[in-house]
Structure formats: C-alpha cells, structure tokens
C-alpha cells in the first residue's frame, strides 16, 4: 500500500503548527509561516493533521 | 352585502389591519399602552396558522420578527417608548439587512417609564434618529381607529415594497379609544408582497443593484442560500470594508426612500387652500386641530390644518410651500418641541412657526389651538 498523499493548501495555512505537533510520525515540518510535507513516506494515514487543522489547509488523500 | 363593522379600540384596529395585510407572525413583549395589539393577535394568529410568540424582552421580540421575516413571514411587533428605545439597535439591523417588518409604537408619556397610561407624541424624532448610523426611515402616524387599520396595512405594503422596517406611531389616546371600523372587503385594499428573485439560486445576490434600488428578496428555506449580516456589506451580502462597495450599498439604502418620496408621502390638508394660519398636527392632536379649525372658520378666521399621515420621510416640499402661503404654521404636538423643528427647517424663515406643546398627560384641546391661532393672527 502506498502512503497517503498529503495536500497542503498554502493559501489557507496560517502556520499554527498544530498539524506538525499532532503528527505522530513527524511527516510535517514548519517552513517559515507555512507547513511543509517533509517526510511523506512516513505517513500512517491517521488523519490527525486534517482533523486538527483549524484552517482547512491540509487534506489527507488515501489511495 | 353590508360591510362588517365593529366598535374597535385603536389597538384592536391595528391588529385587524395587520391580519388584513397578511401578517402571520407576531413577536412581542407586553407594554402599556400597546398590549391589546398583542392580545388580539395571540387569539387570532393561531386561528389562521400564524405564529404568536411572546419573547423575553423587546430586543428579543425585534430579533424574532426579523428572523421570522427572513424565513418568509410578514412580521409585526408592537411596543411603546421604553420598548422602542430597547429595540433601536435591531431596528438598525433590520435597516441595513433590509428586512421588511412593521413596528407599532403606541406612544405614552416619556422619557423613561414616564407616564405609562398617559398619551404622548414624544417619540417622533426618535423614530428617525433613534438608532445609530445612517439609515432609511418610514414612519406613519394615523389619527383614527379606521386609519390605524388602513395605515397598518400600508405599513406592511411599504415594508414589503421597500424591504425595510416601517414604524407606525400613534398615541395612547387613539390606541385606547373605540370607534366604529368598517372592515374593507378582501381585495378592496391593495396588498403588496416582497418581490421574489427572478433568477435562480446560483445567480442570486441578496442585494443585487441590477434589479433596482430594492433588490428582490428570497426567504430562508426556499432553496436560495444567502448570507445576512449587520456589517457593511457588498451586493452579494457578504461583509466588506472596501470603500466603494460600502458606499454604494449605504447610498442605495437611503435612495430607496429619497427617490420614492411621492409614493410614500401621504398628507391630509383641511381648509388649507386659503389658510392664513395653518395648524400642523398629527395623530390625536390633529383631531383637536380640526375641531379648532372648524370653530375658527365659524368665527371667520382663515385657519387650516396640515396633517401628515406619513411623518417620515417628511413632507418637506409641501411644508415649504405652505410656509410661503401662510403667516404662520403652528405646530401642535404632545411633546416639548420635536416636529416643529422640522417644520422650521423646511419653511426656511418664510413664516413663523409657533409651537404648542404639552406633556402633562392631558391632550392638547381645541381651545389651546384656537387661542394660539388668534394670537398669531
């Protein structure tokens, strides 16, 4: 099974870093004021980032 | 078939007028001397499947009728001075959000609790200026029970036509006195309903100026999903701080009324053609004025009466003309000086504007007016 695709809508991301902190496998990282998908392959599709992003800025697409 | 007639209190006539106009929602909070409007509607509305709700206060009452109106109802509330003061914020909301509804203010003595069972006409400037910010105003001032009926109907019509709150103000005297009312047959008086959108939900904008200064209005739950706010908004209903968009909307709202003055204005003139002294009076006071004019004419005094039935927008032009014709326009009202200021403004110094005011709980009687007319003659 390939790892899920993480979509970050940069225009919405306000850089609060909630997703970064809640990601259990450190897939995400802050890059200045927006989030960056640093280790996509580590994603375990737990949906924490999507669930908790207050800004509708991150979507987890499982294949 | 003879028309239905009944001896009704002014407040009862108001309730009946509302029903005739198609009112199907009343949200209120009791207050003397307006309570009978609510009482009659609490009995009558459920009979026709309409809704009567007594809210927790006047603010909530005003909120409920705006909510009801947005959901498609023809909505009414009735109150008196203290309640009117409380409603001011949401009156402004109804203006900016362009929600048709009718507010009855049965005026008593003021300010504050004042004289709850005594008459007053001291909320007439409040009707125009009570809420903060610029906003269009329509206020009607009937002078008899029959006219309360017809003006309540007209209030609903204007509210629906211009998509805004309309106030009807009358004083405790006519609110509580009883006269014979002839009920118009269904269809006899014109009934206006808000214009519904002619475009589909996708294209609909709740304040679309391309349909004129009064854009069509959809109801909540009708398939048109739109946004309503009390913030300055653009034509699409969403808040904006863009100067030009705000300006367009604000000016359009005032223009609704300023451009339609002739449609909204309604006055009665009594023996003004050759009048040397005109008495400006409205509501119950105009009844004393008419009595006085009749008596004075018997004595050969050329007196006449100008009676606004639409108080706001103010009949500026006609007053200016009368100011040029008459020696004086005497303003008689149950307050210490309100509409006289507006008359003064309009006559631009062309004639005197003597004032008769009274705030002691008693009506201005014909004698007072006759004396004043003779004084200026």
């Amino acid at each position: 099974m390939s790892s899920p695709r993480i979509e970050v809508i940069e225009r919405y991301c306000k850089g609060c870093s909630i997703c970064v902190e809640f990601c259990p496998t450190k897939v995400l990282e802050m890059d200045g004021f927006v989030v960056r998908v640093a280790k996509p392959e580590a994603c375990i599709n737990c949906m924490q980032c999507e669930l908790r992003c207050p800004d509708f800025a991150i979507k987890v697409h499982a294949e | 078939m003879a028309k239905k007639v009944a001896l009704l209190q002014g407040n009862e006539a108001c309730a009946q007028g509302a029903l005739y106009a198609g009112c199907n929602f009343f949200g209120g909070y009791p207050i003397t001397p307006s309570t009978e409007v609510a009482e009659v509607l609490s009995v009558e509305l459920p009979k026709i499947g309409g809704k009567f709700i007594q809210m927790e206060d006047e603010i909530a009452a005003m909120a409920s009728i705006i909510g009801g109106a947005l959901a498609g109802s023809k909505a009414l509330t009735a109150t008196s001075g203290p309640g009117m003061s409380l409603k001011q914020e949401l009156l402004g909301y109804a203006c900016i959000a362009e929600v048709p509804c009718v507010i009855i203010n049965v005026m008593r003595g003021g300010p504050s609790t004042g004289m709850p069972t005594g008459p007053g006409q001291s909320d007439v400037q409040q009707a125009k200026w009570g809420t903060h910010g610029d906003h269009p105003v329509i206020a009607l001032v009937p002078a008899s029970c029959q006219e309360i009926f017809t003006e309540t109907v007209r209030a609903f019509n204007l509210a629906e036509k211009y998509r805004m709150p309309v106030q009807v103000l009358y004083d405790e005297i006519i609110g509580h006195m009883r006269e014979r009312i002839e009920f118009p047959e269904p269809g006899e008086l014109e009934i206006i309903n808000r214009t519904e959108p002619s475009v589909g939900p996708e294209e609909y904008k709740p304040f679309d100026p391309s349909f004129g200064d009064v854009p069509p209005m959809a109801a909540f739950g009708s398939g048109y999903r739109f946004h309503v706010t009390g913030l300055n908004k653009a034509a699409d209903g969403f808040p904006t701080t863009k100067a030009d968009l705000v300006d367009n909307e604000q000016r359009r709202q005032l223009r609704k009324i300023s451009a339609a003055q002739s449609d909204i204005e309604l006055n009665e003139e009594y023996m003004t053609e050759d009048a040397e002294v005109v008495v400006f009076a409205y509501g119950s006071t105009s009844r004393s004025a008419r009595y006085a004019v009749n008596e004075l004419r018997k004595e050969g005094v050329k007196a006449g009466m100008f009676r606004p039935i639409t108080l706001w927008p103010f009949p500026e032009k006609r007053i200016a003309e009368l100011g040029k014709q008459a020696k004086a326009i005497i303003v008689a009202e149950l307050n210490l000086g309100q509409m006289n200021l507006e008359v003064e403004r309009c006559v631009k110094g062309a004639c005197d504007v003597p004032f008769i005011g009274r705030v002691d709980g008693e009506p201005i009687n014909p004698g007072q007016i006759m004396d004043k007319v003779k004084e200026v003659k």
């Binding site: - | 007639v5 001896l7 069972t117 006195m177 009883r178 006269e179 009844r287 009595y291 014909p366």
Partner: protein, 182 residues
C-alpha cells in the same frame, strides 16, 4: 339630540363602567349607525381607584375624542362623583347611586338619585350587572339611543347564558329612571 352629546360613566375600578360605555357606543354606532367614540382614563396603574369611561355621540364624524363639557354623567361612588362631576355642562345631568353617593355634588346640573347597585343585587339578583342597570338608566335619562338599540347592544355583548339577566338589568334601570323623571 345635540350635534355632539357627551356622556361619562364613573365609579370604582372593577365596576364594569368601561363596558357600559362600550355598549352604549356600540348601540349608537353599530346599531343606530351614528358616530360614536368611547374612551376611558386609566389610573396611574390601571388598577383600583376611581375609573371613568366617556362616550361621545354625534351625527357627524367626531374630531376631539375627549369630553369637553359633559351632557350626562353617571357616578357610582362618592369619590367618582366628587372627581368627575366637575365638567358637567350647565343644565346637564348627573345620575348617582344613592346608596354610595351620600353627598351628591351641587352645581348647575340636575341630580337624579337611584339605587343602582342595590337594584342589581336585590332585584336582579347579581351585583355584577350593576353596570347594565346603570346603562339602562342612562339611556332612559338621555335618550341618546333608543331603548331597543340599547337592549340589542347589551345582548350582543353577553354570552347566551347571561342574556336574560342582562336584559332584566337593562330594563329595570331604564324603567326606574323613567318612573323617577316621569
């Protein structure tokens, strides 16, 4: 009938005088098609104390809706008589309940005394219809509406069960006054 006829019903709050005024106004305006305006004054709080109801009847539309000079006044209590008989017109009428108005005011008007409450209590059997007794009496006294119109108006106001009672009250009031004034 004069061009404008002014009647006043006064007494204590709760005696039904507002209703009496309304019925009279209905008799004049609905039954007889004249013009009539009924009004009342509320006490400071609409409860207790002296109460009054006024009816103005005319052939023409009525402008000023309050009494100017009262043609006929009813007073059911001493307090009401003292307070409300003041502006009876010269030559006008004052009907008092003789049991409750022990010192009828004096003035340039005619005083008619009659036991109104007692008639209701003892002859009709229900004190509550004293106002209708009074109404019958006022109609007889002023002839401002016909006896029949008065009765019609009374009956159209009361539920079936109380029609006889009220009819009796109205007519007793009417007749007693007729007997008194001849």
């Amino acid at each position: 009938m004069a061009e404008r006829y002014e009647l006043r019903f006064s007494g204590a709050g709760g005696q039904g005088l507002i209703t009496a005024g309304i019925i009279l106004a209905e008799a004049a305006s609905i039954v007889e098609g004249k013009h009539a305006v009924q009004s009342q004054s509320y006490g400071p709080e609409a409860r207790g104390g002296a109460s009054k109801s006024e009816v103005i009847i005319a052939d023409e539309p009525i402008d000023y809706p309050k009494a100017t000079l009262v043609d006929a006044c009813l007073a059911m209590t001493q307090e009401a008589a003292d307070k409300y008989s003041k502006d009876i017109r010269p030559g006008g009428l004052l009907l008092v309940d003789e049991d409750f108005v022990q010192n009828p005011p004096v003035g340039d008007f005619k005083v008619i005394k009659m036991p109104i409450v007692n008639t209701a209590k003892n002859e009709v059997g229900r004190m509550i219809v004293a106002n209708v007794v009074a109404l019958g009496a006022m109609v007889a006294l002023t002839e401002v509406v016909s006896r029949e119109s008065g009765e019609t108006a009374v009956l159209s106001r009361v539920p079936e069960a109380f029609r006889e009672l009220n009819k009796t009250a109205f007519n007793l009031g009417f007749e007693k006054v007729k007997a008194l004034i001849g």
